[in-house]
């Protein structure tokens, strides 16, 4: 199964998105991370690295980020991971909420990391106003 890490400037936003995504796949390991150590808005590479490590035994880990510095701090966190784990982690270019929901569904279906990533990225084109 593919695990998911939700990375936002706001821990509340990350936890809220995790909650929504978790509804679509109760057994999918999802970790939320965000905010700075002293509780401000922001993202920190070391906290993100620890969050990825917390996902546990999975086939791969999909990373979803919100804005700007979250991307750079996440890239840095990935560079700091042990090689073996690093190879199973991918940062995806998806909208954070819709991407997380789609990823949870795909992961629960037992799809591979690459399949889950592509589905999450496809969420950017999802038609909301049907």
């Amino acid at each position: 199964m593919v695990g998911i890490v939700i990375i936002s400037h706001s821990l509340k936003a990350a936890e809220g998105i995790k909650e929504i995504a978790q509804q679509m796949g109760r057994e999918v390991p999802i970790v939320a991370v965000g905010g700075t150590t002293d509780g401000d808005l922001g993202t920190e590479p070391l906290a993100i690295k620890e969050a990825i490590e917390r996902v546990g035994e999975v086939d791969g880990v999909l990373l979803l980020v919100d804005l700007g510095s979250a991307v750079m701090n996440t890239q840095m966190a990935v560079e700091m991971l042990e090689d073996e784990l690093q190879r199973r982690v991918v940062l995806c270019n998806a909208p954070i909420l819709e991407g997380a929901v789609v990823a949870a569904v795909e992961s629960a279906m037992g799809h591979t990391l690459d399949q889950v990533r592509r589905a999450a990225e496809g969420a950017a084109q999802m038609e909301k106003l049907l």
């Binding site: 700075t36 150590t37 002293d38 401000d40 808005l41 922001g42 993202t43 920190e44 590479p45 070391l46 804005l67 700007g68 510095s69 750079m72 701090n73 890239q75 840095m76």
Partner: protein
């Protein structure tokens, strides 16, 4: 003229002091075109750096700068963390094992630091970022060094170029970071990242001049 470990430690303390003094100013600049946290973030990062300084203050200069980079990476919380963190990690690589720095060491550190920032942030000159202050500074330092100038004169040339580069960000449209969302509304505002870059270089220069 060479820079010894005590001067390096003094530079780090001076950078932290200057950022603390300019916390509101940087945050005001960032409030105009960004998310309004640059001063707060930089201050938090440099306070962390100061906290972590005593155990490494008697180590080689490379270790001291590596520690600065790691402190900023761990505590800044915004894009400035990985960017300045990379800048000082690159300083640390060039200065690894060194007890003092020559003009050519410092030129190489600045060049490597800039290259690290450009790779990490994928920015070039003209995009209203810290690169607009740092690249002219690195070039001015190299030009002065090539002309056989002393370290102090090289660093003065670098800071003058950084200041000019910082001011030149005012009419630019932001292409990177949160300011990018503002498009043309970012015109007329000085970039906070270019401003903090100039402040950091100026703080290092102050120690050389004292």
């Amino acid at each position: 003229m060479k820079v010894d470990r005590d001067q390096v430690v003094a530079m780090i303390k001076e950078m932290a002091a200057v950022v603390a003094q300019n916390k509101e100013y940087l945050t005001d600049l960032d409030s105009a075109i960004g998310d309004g946290d640059h001063g707060i973030n930089m201050d938090r990062g440099l306070r962390k750096v100061l906290e972590k300084l005593p155990p490494v203050a008697d180590k080689d200069i490379g270790t001291i700068f590596k520690n600065v980079g790691m402190g900023l990476i761990s505590a800044v919380g915004g894009a400035a963390g990985p960017l300045y963190g990379t800048f000082f990690l690159q300083f640390g690589k060039i200065a690894a094992g060194k007890e003092e720095l020559t003009t050519s060491d410092i030129g190489a550190m600045l060049a490597a630091g800039l290259e690290g920032i450009k790779q990490r942030g994928k920015a070039v000159v003209g995009e209203k970022t810290m690169v607009d202050a740092l690249e002219p500074a690195v070039e001015a330092f190299a030009a002065a060094a090539d002309a056989g100038k002393e370290l102090l004169a090289c660093f003065q040339a670098a800071v003058a170029a950084a200041e000019a580069g910082k001011k030149a960000t005012i009419p630019l449209v932001a292409k990177k970071g949160r300011a990018h969302y503002l498009g043309e509304r970012s015109i007329g505002h000085q970039d906070p990242g270019a401003t903090s870059s100039e402040l950091l270089l100026r703080a290092m220069l102050k120690v050389l001049e004292s």
